[in-house]
Subunit: 196 residues, 2 copies
């Protein structure tokens, strides 16, 4: 078996990032998420702080850009383009797990790409965000709904496809069975698929 | 562990029914799909042939019913209601796998219900429908698109929710890894979840 890439999409607070990390460790391949940003920053010539500030923001409306008469692409678009280039470079370079960043869309139609989605019930996501991530909110349900909406808007804008269509994923798992167990199941799927 | 129910939703030609059957066998629990129709037929007082003819048809528009001045619910609505009753009876009676029939929606919010979705790439679905089911079509891609559309319309009408939202399923699997292997993975998920 040659190189393969696993993309992980997830609901906020589902533990999808942890599962992606664990999966990469189990399979002995690279893992890219926050680290990706540094690569992108280098690639695009932006500083890491600038990328962090503009990352995962949906672009302002076209009308806004016409209004301000901008001749160049907005920062978030340029970052998305640079990220897509980094993702394709990774694809060509090594086997790895890539979390988020519409990587499933960026690599659509490429060989040996498996798309994973991690879900979790809202109650579990609230508990994780509050107790494990230590995030503060007056109303956690509203907080998560807003996080979800941002993620969906980002995906729908850049990927030009609906977020969370089950047909777009090779396997999806509800993380309530446990981070390690979910990662094990996905690893097993990958091993079966590629006869590893 | 007491009783539990697994619902299986699937894309047409994905082999989801076979996976459901295999899953039920592995777990040693009941399996309901076509058999459900006979139960429903008895339940509703319709003949089995009448049910078969009207099953999985979306109801005609309200306008149509106003036009023909019907005072009673259309046949497909009555069959759906009777099916929902049968599904709830099964839930109360025994552990089982139920394929299709919006069972995931009918049992939403009930304890110990796991929702499974089986996907497959269009090429694999065409091959299965043509070579294994022996179905005839001039254009298999168009044929499957129409089958999908009917399934989606049926779900969206009766379940009042979008079909195929990844968040609605506990686990989804692309059946290209093989019917038996997909069933094994799902069985494993169920065993982990309920500590069987």
């Amino acid at each position: 078996m040659g190189k393969y890439v696993i993309t992980v999409s997830r609901e906020y607070g589902s533990g999808g990032r942890l599962i992606g990390k664990r999966l990469a460790d189990e399979l002995g391949i690279g893992f890219y998420d926050g680290e990706l940003l540094s690569l992108v920053a280098k690639e695009s010539g932006y500083t890491e702080e600038f990328v962090r500030r503009n990352d995962q923001k949906k672009t302002q409306s076209l009308l806004y850009h016409l209004y301000i008469g901008s001749q160049i692409l907005p920062a978030s678009d340029m970052i998305f383009i640079a990220q897509s280039r980094v993702i394709k470079d990774l694809y060509n370079k090594e086997s790895c797990v890539i979390v988020g960043r519409c990587a499933d869309y960026v690599l659509r139609g490429f060989d040996n790409v498996s798309n994973v989605f991690v879900t979790a019930p809202i109650e579990s996501r609230i508990a994780r965000v509050r107790d494990e991530y230590g995030e503060q909110a007056d109303n956690y349900r509203a907080y998560l709904t807003k996080k979800d909406k941002n993620r969906i808007a980002y995906y729908n804008y850049f990927a030009d496809d609906a977020w969370g269509k089950v047909q777009n994923y090779d396997i999806s798992v509800n993380s309530d069975i446990g981070i390690d167990k979910a990662a094990d199941l996905i690893a097993q799927y990958i091993r079966e698929k590629y006869s590893l």
